[in-house]
């Protein structure tokens, strides 16, 4: 049973998939979801080592990360709604106002 190895592999895999999604996808909401996925993989690693080291502190950090993710989701989704109302799309390639 190589449980820590499996958990580390899963966490790194989820993080890499999230990073690829941030790079590849052009819809801002899906990019945001991939960022949530990366946060989730960090949570998984924290919980895994909290379990294996018999120390609750890692799990407490996961609780705080959850709260911050909730606050972030509220503000980011409000921003997306405002952006869609003003520009008509939320495509990451088309939103290049700072370029011109």
């Amino acid at each position: 049973m190589h449980s820590p190895a499996v958990l580390i592999f899963l966490s790194l895999f989820l993080f890499s998939v999230g990073a690829v999604g941030v790079i590849v996808r052009r819809n801002l909401i899906i990019v945001f979801m991939c960022i949530e996925l990366m946060l989730n993989s960090a949570n998984l690693m924290l919980v895994a080592f909290s379990h294996f080291l018999k120390n609750i502190d890692g799990m407490m950090f996961v609780l705080f990360v959850l709260a911050i993710a909730a606050a972030e989701a509220g503000v980011a989704l409000a921003l997306f709604v405002v952006l869609f109302r003003q520009k008509g799309n939320i495509d990451t390639i088309k939103l290049n106002l700072l370029k011109h």
Partner: protein
């Protein structure tokens, strides 16, 4: 039995994570994300963190993903489904470097795990992730981060309300 459920959760989490970035419809993407979060909650449960698993399902899979689905419905998804995009150069280079990162990180993680192979993961202390212990820690050692996070949540609510309300008198 636990081992079978554990590996099923791991495999499902990986599969649905890939499905998030591969399906075209954003709503389907969000539902695959819910599936990943549930698999992660199952893993938390098997590691003995029952409270955290409940919080994961309620806050992440319930509240945040619900909010995301609402906003996807507020924005237009028809053109997103129809269009096909070609990968640009920077995206291909980015994928390449993410893959390199993954390989190197797995190698590094496995190298530093040599002492862990014989770990007996049945030897979980009795009520380690229980609500009692979490509450005790939360109000003694972690009381300052707890208060800071509560203020941050309040600021988040205020910011979201201010951003999303319609501006009437200020013409922009």
């Amino acid at each position: 039995m636990d081992v079978i459920i554990f590996f099923m959760a791991v495999v499902f989490a990986m599969g649905s994570a890939i499905a998030i970035i591969c399906v075209k419809n954003p709503i389907h993407s969000a539902l695959w994300m819910v599936s990943t979060l549930f698999c992660t909650a199952v893993i938390y449960l098997l590691l003995g963190f029952d409270f955290l698993a409940a919080i994961q399902v309620i806050v992440y899979a319930g509240a945040i993903m619900m909010l995301i689905v609402y906003v996807i419905m507020l924005t237009s998804i028809e053109e997103e489904i129809k269009k096909r995009y070609r990968l640009r150069l920077f995206q291909i280079v980015g994928i390449f470097f993410v893959i390199i990162f993954f390989i190197q990180a797995v190698k590094y993680g496995m190298v530093h795990l040599t002492g862990w192979e014989g770990f007996d993961w049945k030897s979980i202390p009795e009520r380690f992730g229980s609500v009692n212990y979490i509450a005790y820690k939360l109000f003694t050692k972690f009381v300052l981060p707890f208060e800071v996070v509560s203020i941050l949540l309040l600021a988040g609510i205020a910011g979201a309300v201010y951003l999303a309300k319609k501006e009437k008198n200020k013409g922009e």
